[in-house]
């Protein structure tokens, strides 16, 4: 346990008992701040909680020796004696608990408002889901589900909301791809992240309208500081679809004249073939992904700058059987228990498929204007090209590889943020952001599911926080403005450019109370909004693999949500329980409703769906329980329940996740020989039948029955040639159960994949260096 004190001269502290003391809590490994930690001075029975920047403070102290006790979940409790003669500050370095690392720690992330429920996937927990898609790997977090289009395409669902209502932050930049489509997966390589934080609730004040339903933030590892070179290799293999993944990362820091400068390069190749459902292969469900990223970083005592570039490229096959052009074809697909086409295992991807290329360039910098004041700025540019290739792309084309739809979007955004602390108990965050997007859609159709558009948006926000003793109160306000022009053909074949302008004020209020050492209570109210997207306004076309014709409505207005959430967390050495409930009223919620009228296409009749608005309610509960029977043997239970109701027509909403219960047992063995931290897990996932569905004819097929899956896994570290190699093996769907999931759009055509054995290796490329804590 290392720590250091930089006692500083301070002016104006004449009287003896007016010493003030600031402490900064950081993770000894990642060097990241640790917010939300209770720090007590034993001798005085005084306490403080570290703020979002990991800083706590005491004032009016008399000179003397004090014991500071810092206790937070996921870290060893630190007790440090400090002799105070005058005002000053110190860095407290906390080390993570090695044994019994909670899969999903309750560690708070500095981006988050501390009163909104959030969870982080890091360490062993993230290593256990390597190789899975982002949407899939987040299913382990309570409150989350995923909406899928077959095995290769998965998007996260937070408290029932997805797509444009969820913001995905990739290294601090809001992901800007073609999020509007539920078959458009996030264009991100999860191997770039060392931890993923999910904020389960509106964060619109901080991030704008995209964060209405929550935020998924992927954070890379902190840049290295020790001079030298380091690196790691991740290898993943899966039995079901013959997937092989290799991801390599190299990083280094310079010393001497170039001290403070560091770099990292990283690349991933992921190749998978057809997935296998019990009894048959899912034809054309392979994918081939190639990604790379590079980062250059400079850190000085009071300022720093970063340059980051990443490139994501993939080709994803779409189940052949799911490409139906009209109701007659859909009807025949629905009547058969499995796809009509014979299939075998192959890595070959044929039509229909998607190709996606996403490039991100980010520059950022920060500077401390004083100990209590920091300014940071981020600029980013993203280019996203998505092509959807179908075999009926053109009536007369012999070429198989003709592009049916292509979407190209460029996003530029910039943000400046000023964080400051004043009057000891108050802190504030003030920011300004701006962005512009330009979307170009090309289609073989007469019209398209999304028109071309250009927009400019800006926002200003301020968040105030007050912390004293066991209480944290926070409040924030944000004003946004969006100018958006759409370019498209009207019904008379004239090229027109309707203009839309939106502005909105949103706000948030929250409180956290550390009732006792073991019990914490949170409350948050967030008001959020979202302008209608161009596809919701002017979309007019058949969505591939959906056999539905989507019609926009140019009269749609702004969607507004009022989200109330509260959670309580109890934590003792044996038992950890967290219960969160939320009540999210969304007025003018935009969704697709069947028109009941046929849409006449030359390729046949398809059902028409119209974008419409209604007042709806999403409510639910997340429950996490972790109980240790013995220090090594524990039970982990996670329950996710979501309800959604349309108050305008008094009916349920479609595509709401079914109740999900995940119960597992974990045994952590003693270390033996060169093997450390061995564990064994077994779990049961039960997903209920979704019986709360709209009564009128919304869906092509009724929700599938409930299903039960059994999963198991084990993992350990083994020291070999001074390298601590991490190995884990998981088996999903051990019983090879045939099931379909309500939120998978391909459930109309095929079952989900069967048993899948995944083996993962994480190999440090250089021998371990002796840790030097000075």
């Amino acid at each position: 346990m290392a720590f250091s004190i930089f006692a500083k001269n301070s002016q104006g502290q004449k009287s003896d008992c007016h010493i003030s003391f600031h402490g900064h809590l950081i993770d000894i490994k990642t060097r990241e701040s640790i917010p939300g930690t209770l720090v007590r001075i034993k001798e005085l029975d005084k306490a403080a909680v570290s703020d979002s920047a990991g800083v706590f403070s005491f004032s009016d102290l008399c000179p003397g020796q004090y014991s500071f006790t810092c206790a937070v979940i996921g870290y060893d409790t630190l007790v440090k004696k400090i002799n105070l003669a005058k005002s000053g500050h110190a860095v407290f370095e906390l080390s993570g608990q090695e044994l019994g690392t909670v899969e999903i720690s309750g560690k708070q992330k500095k981006e988050a408002l501390s009163t909104v429920a959030h969870e982080t996937l890091a360490g062993v927990a993230i290593d256990e889901v390597r190789g899975e898609s982002l949407g899939e790997s987040l299913k382990d977090i309570t409150g989350l589900n995923s909406i899928q289009t077959g095995p290769g395409i998965s998007k996260p669902v937070i408290h029932g909301l997805y797509s444009n209502r969820i913001l995905i932050l990739n290294n601090g930049v809001g992901q800007a791809g073609q999020q509007w489509g539920s078959d458009h997966a996030p264009e991100i390589d999860p191997f770039t992240a060392s931890e993923i934080t999910v904020i389960k609730g509106a964060e619109s004040v901080r991030y704008g309208s995209d964060a209405m339903g929550g935020v998924v933030s992927l954070q890379p590892k902190e840049m290295p500081r020790t001079p030298g070179i380091d690196g790691e290799l991740n290898l993943v293999g899966a039995s079901n679809n013959g997937m092989g993944v290799a991801s390599i990362m190299l990083e280094g820091a310079f010393g001497k004249n170039l001290a403070g400068l560091s770099w990292r390069i990283q690349g991933t190749v992921n190749r998978a073939g057809n997935s296998e459902a019990p009894g048959y292969y899912l034809d054309n469900t392979g994918d081939f992904e190639r990604d790379y990223s590079a980062q250059l970083s400079y850190r000085h005592e009071i300022f720093g700058a970063d340059l980051y570039y990443s490139s994501y490229n993939t080709q994803i096959g779409i189940l052949t059987a799911s490409e139906v052009g009209n109701l007659a074809d859909l009807d025949s697909a629905l009547k058969s228990s499995k796809p009509n086409e014979p299939s075998k295992f192959t890595y070959k991807i044929t039509t229909p498929y998607q190709t996606v290329a996403h490039n991100l360039l980010k520059t950022s910098g920060y500077i401390y204007l004083s100990d209590d004041s920091k300014i940071q700025a981020i600029y980013s540019q993203q280019q996203d090209l998505r092509e959807e290739v179908a075999n009926d792309a053109s009536y007369t084309n012999t070429q198989v590889n003709s592009v049916a739809d292509s979407f190209f979007i460029i996003t530029n955004s910039a943000e400046v943020e000023w964080e400051t602390r004043y009057l000891n108990n108050f802190s504030s965050e003030i920011g300004i952001s701006g962005s512009t997007q330009s979307n170009y859609h090309k289609t073989v159709d007469f019209y398209g599911v999304i028109p071309n558009f250009l927009n400019y948006g800006g926002g200003v926000y301020a968040i105030q926080k007050w912390q004293k003793g066991f209480w944290t109160l926070e409040g924030g306000l944000r004003y946004d403005y969006l100018w958006e022009q759409v370019y498209m053909y009207n019904e008379n074949l004239e090229y027109v450019a309707p203009l839309h302008e939106y502005s909105h004020l949103s706000g948030t209020l929250g409180a956290t109370c550390q009732i006792s050492d073991r019990l914490t209570w949170n409350f948050n109210y967030g008001n959020a909004w979202r302008p209608p997207e161009p596809n919701e306004l002017y979309g007019k076309g058949v969505h591939l693999s959906a056999a539905s014709f989507e019609l926009g409505d140019s009269a749609l207005g702004v969607e507004q949500s009022n989200n109330f959430s509260t959670s309580a967390r109890y934590e003792s050495p044996k038992l950890k329980v967290e219960l969160g409930v939320y009540y999210n009223i969304i007025n003018n919620f935009i969704f697709l409703e069947p028109t009941g009228k046929p849409i006449y296409q030359i390729s046949g009749v398809v059902p028409g769906f119209q974008y419409t608005q209604a007042n709806v309610l999403y409510e639910g509960a997340d429950l996490d329980i972790n109980y240790h029977f013995t220090p090594r043997f524990s039970i982990v239970s996670k329950s996710t329940i979501v309800r959604a109701y349309n108050y305008t027509i008094h009916d349920y909403l479609i595509y709401v996740p079914a109740d999900r219960f995940d119960n597992g047992l974990k045994y952590e063995f003693r270390n033996f020989g060169k093997v450390t931290k061995p564990y064994l897990v077994a779990s049961n996932v039960y997903v209920r039948h979704q019986d709360r569905v709209p009564v009128n004819n919304y869906d092509y097929a009724p929700p599938p029955p409930a299903y039960t899956l059994f999963n198991a896994g084990f993992g350990f570290f083994v020291m070999s040639q001074k390298r601590n190699i991490e190995i884990n093996l998981t088996v999903n769907n051990i019983a090879n159960t045939t099931y379909r999931d309500y939120l998978d759009r391909l459930r109309y055509f095929s079952a989900e994949p069967g048993r899948n054995i995944m083996l993962r290796l994480k190999i440090p490329l250089w021998p371990e260096k002796t840790v030097n804590n000075d």
């Binding site: 600029y379 075999n391 009926d392 979307n439 159709d445 028409g608």
Partner: protein, 187 residues
Amino acid sequence: MKNFRNVILFLMFGTIIASCNKNNVANVQHPLSNEFLTTTILNLQNVSNPNDKPSISYYLNPNTPTVPPVITPDTLKLTKNATYTCNIVILDQTKTPVDTVSDVIKQRENIHLFFFYPTSGLMLTDSITDHDTNIPPLPFGLQSQIKTEAASTGSLRVVLRHQPNVKNGTYGPGSTDLDVTYPVSIK
């Protein structure tokens, strides 16, 4: 130090200005390059009566998908116990001059196949008379023969399947390009 602060501030404003730069590809008008099958005409010819040559057209405006198709005349009137040749013409009336798409489909006959489905009770049979250049040749369907029997009414559905690399003479593989239905009366 102060210099560095200036650099940071410069970068901040620079990025804001850079981001306001117009990346205006969105308002580039994209060409409507592909063909639309707006009109499907059946031209029939009674083999034993040169004056009996009924015809029917099915018109759909692709830009008004909620408007039902226009069928002219409203019914295809055929003579009972007769044999007709049937020739399909497909037009794109969004183009000026009007584009005859069936000519292009003919060039791509190896990946296309027509199907004819009379409703039960409509006393007619349709058999394809032309073949593509696949080896062995497979039926195509732009040319066919319709044989009528007793007087009856119903409708005839015509489907064009698009089967690149997978055409094998059956309906299954590929996807549907065209699916139109005509009212028919046999007297």
